[in-house]
């Protein structure tokens, strides 16, 4: 196995791990504001690592460009959606979770 | 179980689910969803059967049919939703606007 493949493997596995973290966050965090982290942080990092790992295997520069374009678009979209969802939640009067409520 | 068989049977099941939804759900939006579901089942059967020989590229004719079907399905859904809106909004207009 070449270094290229090794780096690619590590990156893919790490990416999968962050997706797992995102799903766990989605399932276990207490309210909508905290769950936004799963969408915007963990999953985008996971996707970035996957894209990096796949780019090392890609057959052409066009494919690499497409991979990174996809990542950029997803980041743009989830940032916007995160903002919109948070704003809508705030305006609808959902108050953020705090430790006292949780107990 | 080959992928073709797997997906084709899923298509059959989805069609039945859609059919039952059409009969059992009272809400009109649910009925529109059911028809969409049944349609997806039919599409799945078609595309699965297009790929019976795994070595050669899939048969283009069913794919073209499904492609046409998807676009027609969305327009039929839009017509149904417009009818639904018309039904729900006409009577409720006067009292509270």
């Amino acid at each position: 196995m070449s270094t290229n493949d090794l780096v690619s493997c590590v990156s893919l596995v790490l990416g999968a791990f962050f997706f797992l973290a995102g799903t766990m966050g989605m399932l276990r965090f207490p309210d909508v504001y905290t769950r936004l982290h799963a969408l915007t942080k963990a999953d985008n990092l996971g996707l970035g690592l996957l894209v990096f790992g796949l780019a090392l295997q890609a057959e052409s520069w066009l494919a690499v460009a497409k991979l990174f374009l996809v990542w950029g678009l997803v980041m743009l979209a989830s940032t916007t959606c995160c903002h919109l969802v948070a704003q809508a939640a705030w305006q609808a009067g959902i108050s953020p979770w705090s430790r006292r409520d949780g107990q | 179980m080959t992928p073709t068989l797997n997906y084709a049977l899923t298509g059959v099941v989805l069609f039945s689910v859609g059919l039952s939804g059409l009969f059992f759900c009272a809400h009109l939006l649910r009925k529109i969803l059911s028809v969409n579901m049944a349609g997806s089942g039919v599409f799945l059967v078609f595309v699965a059967l297009a790929r019976r020989q795994p070595d050669v590229p899939p048969d283009p004719v069913p794919q073209a049919l499904v492609l046409t079907g998807i676009v027609v399905a969305v327009s039929a859904t839009a017509v149904a939703l417009a009818l639904f809106r018309r039904l729900t909004h006409e009577p409720a207009e006067e009292p509270h606007g």
């Binding site: - | 997906y7 298509g11 859609g18 809400h27 283009p60 017509v79 417009a82």
Partner: protein
Amino acid sequence: MDSSLAWFDAILTLTLVVVALRVLFAQDLFQAIVLFIVFGLLLSLAWCRLGAVDVALAEAAIGAGLTGALFLNTLATTRRHGDQAPPAETIDRKGAWVDDKLPTLRPRPSTPWTGRLAFGLVAGSVTAWMAAVVVPLAVSSDAPRIAIDEAMLRSGVTNPVTAVLLNFRAYDTLLEVAVLMLAVLTVSSLTAGSARVSKALPSGPVLTSFVRLILPVVVMVAVYVLWSGTKAPGGAFQAAALLGAGGVLLLVTDTQSPSCARYLRRVLLVAGLAVFLLVGLGGMLGAGRFLEYPPAWAGVLITLVETVLTVSIALVLVMLFVGTSPTGAEGSARASDETPGATPLVSRERTS
């Protein structure tokens, strides 16, 4: 590798069925619609697994994007606003369509158990019969395959799906475009224009700049999909679905949408059908049969028809969305005093 894919298929199909059941029998209607969007995403993955990339492209744009938007839009306008309970007779009279808390897996109260049993038997036998038809077809390896390969040489394109759609079975596609026109006419004439929507979230600077950033990319990708459709997966329907979804995005954010005279909108709306018909008639004069292209010109003619079709179908999809939209209220399309279909025209960027 094979076992991993087999597991992938198994989980995917199982999830499809569970999600479908949940869409139809979950208590909350909003949940059902979100699950329907998820269903579209999963179905798109299934198309990819089956190698039907053309279908996957269309499903990703329509099934997961536009149809979900149509349903959400409709549901948002059917919510009762204010604090009054919905009038009781609205619920009882015609099958409880205002109420979105329907009992799980319970047929409507008027259905007696005999009716349910009878339907269960009917549905069961229909399923069994379909399975009996489909299974032998699915396992037979000597499938009858329509001879496409040698005809491909004369088709003018190298993507077989495009060849089928716009050359071998162009009749189907022509009629399909006619069906779309009919749908737009129906939806436009049905638009009630009376729904009042209470205040939704205003589109702030973030959403506006997002749309400004993303729309050029949508147009670019649509052109790419259209252009690559002659030799790789892609084509008019997929490109139009993308553009239509982009148009919906523009419409919903209610930013400064380019608008234009109604006659131009109408011209663009029927342009696809008209050009298709003209090319077909031209084929009748040249090659002797309706919709038969001279082989030397087939590639050019198909590209021409596809380009015009893309614009028309995209406009159709946007108009269909407008047909289910609230009008004359805060955060809605600016179609309040004009008749239905007075949508800001989104197809302008793509023609100039």
